[in-house]
């Protein structure tokens, strides 16, 4: 996305309801800043994330997509984040195949107590995506008005 001639990446963060969404809330409660490029979508568990959603985001012009879930072993639904981890590993190899830079996607485990980690992760990830520049490879031009 271009704002006043300046490139500003669009970043979609999928956060599980129990840990990472609460972690994101905590970073707000503690007034820890991270770029406004990051928009959070709440999902019940990281295993609810269909890799298709990530492709959809890239197709619609997102420059980076991050998935945050409970730490392995801490999933509210016991095993959800293990499924998410495996699915994302598969997706990463597919993105390699498509020529999408690996750095545009990330999986991070953020607990409900880790507000500082959430903010730090988002700062770091935004900087990383900004360095890569705009996502053009998977962007569907038909989606542009």
């Amino acid at each position: 996305m271009q704002v006043n001639g300046e490139y500003k990446p669009t970043i979609v963060a999928f956060c599980c309801n129990w840990c990472s969404y609460a972690g994101a809330d905590l970073s707000g409660t503690n007034r820890l800043t991270y770029p406004d490029n990051v928009k959070i979508i709440r999902i019940p568990c990281s295993c609810r994330l269909n890799p298709m959603f990530i492709l959809r985001a890239f197709q619609r012009g997102a420059d980076g997509v991050i998935l945050c879930g409970c730490h392995p072993g801490d999933c509210h639904y016991t095993t959800g984040n293990y499924y998410a981890r495996r699915r994302m590993t598969l997706l990463f190899s597919m993105l390699d195949f498509l020529g999408i830079e690996r750095e545009r996607t990330r999986v991070e485990w953020v607990s409900a107590a880790e507000g500082a980690k959430f903010a730090a992760t988002m700062n770091e990830f935004t900087a990383q995506v900004a360095k890569l520049g705009e996502n053009k490879r998977l962007e569907d031009l038909r989606c542009k008005k």
Partner: protein, 663 residues
């Protein structure tokens, strides 16, 4: 097309200071389907809620978007508001523009733009929301308390008082927990045993309470209102129904050199033992690691002296299956191992002790019968040095904990005071980083230690303790006078940090209850729901949630009991309607979803479908038990044909949000 109302909250100045709420409301009013858009100072207040209800009636709203604080805070409030106005509560979506927007951004233009985008995503989602009706599930009217310390006992007593059955599972042979080892309690200096043991007896005699001592929770299945718990009753090689607790066996057992854990290994017990005189239940237990009979098959003295014939060397672990509606975690704490802090010479000299060991040395039922003697040569100590914050508030080197253990300042003041009172000839020094005494009568207590009892409080840390010629040479610095201090001490007492019990982490995994990075259980809300775990039906009592002293533990234990009673008083619980639902026309019966379901909520059945040319086809299709499904959504992604979807978080809804954000 939905008729959507948008309500933007200012949250006083929490949102309005960084987000232009008028602009957000105006911009969102132009979104497709939005028929009403407004902003108000406090949407969650009664006036705000009435405004929403009125708008639902006047504008015939079919969906509501509230741009406010986190849905974790007020989603329930706004759902109730809308339900009262006749709108299905699941037609409400929250755009989180406080925690995830106004509080993290400083630039008004950027924050306003982000708030608009978040609002847009919520509107896009509401367009695809469908009214959902929650089912109900019955509640088993019994509670389980895991841990039989003061927290567990208090919770169990309160639940039983209200007339419900409650079981306590305690891994040690007796209930009572850490408080049984404590001599006196601050700030009143009343004897711990005198206030605890009557409660232990009350619990044992209450007909609504059943105590599983020397038992552990083996597995937990089910969900709120319907937990199936397997309890492992460890073999104690003594028939609980026959043992009278006379203690004959514990005096005759020839295996005398077993370290006594009740006195923290400072004296010995026999292989068959009753932990202490007031143990509840007062039943002997054989320590299989030391018993000669169990190890070599030759001895059997205890069985010969037992008049009741209670000894049973063949006893095996027993698994008991129980059903509960609610589970209370009261696993408590443990002091950390101070071995890593070798500068204090804990492993080099027996005269360096932890505070809990000191507690036993001062206790009339302890290894020295209450006379304070140096463990090394059993002489009376004259100079005592207390070191605070051993492992507490200790960041960086990975040896200790980053948090304050909360109780050490007070118990050290207590120890110092008791020491000076009993032995006025002693010199007592306390080295501290800060003295933290918030609490009723706590600061007065600490000041009495300094002013009336003449305890020397020195701000500074001890650098090294060196055992030399039967003395402990303490090197420390006084931060206020900026001097090096050398003290020849007779005893050094370390206020070790406290950490959650080791059993807490595996238990949390079993219960799917969340923990923080220090392994303390996390509460559902740090301020508003402090005794509930985020997992429904799991409650927290005592130090398993964070460091606590006894009054706070008891207060939290009773609060947890009140929450449990609120749950058990219900006959039926409303289930979460956001559960998985298969599209039977698309399901091909492949079982992918069944394999990933952590709750076993998915079953298969053969169903008749209409085939071509008036034939009927029988196909195997999935069905979800909505009372068991917890709505994680693992199956929705596993389904190769896309037949499985999650209500409230459907594929279409999430993709609509993605589209709105990326636009």
């Amino acid at each position: 097309m939905q008729r959507i109302g948008v309500f933007v909250c200012w949250c006083g100045s929490n949102i309005a200071a960084t987000v232009d709420v008028h602009k957000v409301a105006e911009t969102l009013a132009k979104e497709p389907g939005v028929v009403f858009s407004t902003n108000y100072q406090y949407m969650c207040s009664q006036a705000g809620q009435e405004m929403i209800q009125e708008a639902i009636h006047t504008h015939k709203l079919t969906g509501v978007v509230i741009c406010s604080c986190s849905p974790r805070m007020h989603e329930g409030t706004f759902r109730k508001t809308c339900a009262a106005a006749g709108l299905n509560p699941y037609m409400v979506e929250i755009a989180n523009i406080r925690e995830q927007c106004s509080w993290i951004h400083k630039d008004m233009a950027e924050a306003t733009e982000k708030a608009v985008i978040l609002g847009r995503a919520a509107i896009a989602k509401v367009h695809l929301n469908a009214p959902l009706t929650a089912g109900t599930s019955p509640v088993t009217k019994r509670a389980l308390v895991i841990g039989g310390g003061i927290a567990g006992i208090q919770t169990a007593l309160d639940i039983a008082d209200a007339g419900y059955e409650v079981d306590i599972v305690e891994k040690k042979p007796t209930i009572g927990g850490k408080m049984t080892q404590i001599d006196k309690t601050f700030p009143t200096l009343d004897c711990a045993a005198c206030i605890l043991t009557p409660k232990m007896v009350d619990a044992a005699q209450n007909e609504k309470i059943h105590i599983y001592s020397y038992s552990e929770v083996e597995s937990v299945k089910g969900f709120v209102g319907n937990f199936h718990v397997t309890i492992r009753k460890k073999a104690r090689f003594v028939d609980e129904t026959k043992c009278t607790g006379c203690g004959d066996c514990t005096t005759k057992c020839p295996q005398k050199n077993v370290p006594n854990e009740f006195n923290l290994g400072m004296d010995n017990r026999r292989a068959i033992y009753i932990p202490f005189a007031q143990a509840v239940p007062k039943i002997a237990t054989i320590d299989a690691d030391y018993c000669t009979m169990l190890k070599t098959g030759k001895c059997g003295i205890c069985s010969k002296v037992c008049a009741a014939g209670a000894i049973d060397y063949q006893q095996k672990d027993q698994l008991v299956e129980e059903e509960y509606g609610a589970i209370v975690v009261a696993t408590g704490f443990d002091p950390i191992s101070v071995e890593k802090f070798d500068e204090y010479a804990y492993s080099q000299s027996p005269d360096v002790v932890t505070s809990l060991e000191f507690e036993r040395l001062m206790n009339a039922a302890g290894p020295t019968n209450g006379t304070l003697l140096r463990p090394s040569d059993k002489t009376h100590p004259h100079t005592l040095v207390f070191v605070q914050c051993v492992g507490s508030r200790c960041d960086g080197d990975g040896r200790g904990k980053s948090y304050c253990s909360k109780i050490c300042c007070m118990y050290t003041a207590k120890h110092a005071m008791l020491c000076r009172e009993k032995y006025p000839d002693t010199d007592v020094y306390v080295f501290y980083i800060d003295v933290r005494t918030p609490g009723k009568n706590f600061d007065e207590f600490y000041r009495r230690a300094v002013e009336e009892y003449g305890v020397h409080y020195i701000k500074g840390q001890v650098g090294k303790v060196v055992p030399e010629n039967g003395k402990l040479k303490v090197q420390a610095s006084d931060l206020l006078s900026n001097e090096q201090i050398h003290i020849d001490a007779d005893m050094v007492i370390l206020a070790a940090a406290i950490e959650p019990d080791k059993s807490a982490r595996p238990l949390a995994t079993m219960l799917t209850a969340s923990m923080d990075t220090n392994d303390f259980f996390t509460e559902a809300h740090p301020k508003l729901r402090p005794v509930e775990s985020p997992t429904a039906g799991i409650f927290l009592s005592g130090a398993c949630q964070g460091p606590k002293d006894i009054p706070e533990t008891v207060a939290q234990a009773s609060a947890a009991a009140a929450k449990v009673l609120g749950l058990l008083a219900k006959d039926n619980l409303t289930c979460n309607p956001c559960v998985a639902q298969p599209d039977e026309m698309m399901c091909n019966g492949c079982s992918s979803c069944e394999k990933v379901c952590p709750y076993g909520a998915i079953t298969y059945s053969d169903k008749e479908f209409r085939g071509p040319n008036r034939t009927t086809l029988i196909r195997r299709v999935a069905s979800v038990n909505p009372a068991v499904c917890q709505g994680c959504g693992a199956c929705t992604v596993a389904c190769p044909s896309g037949a499985m979807d999650l209500k409230g978080f459907s594929n279409k809804q999430i993709m609509a949000e993605v589209d709105a954000i990326c636009k």
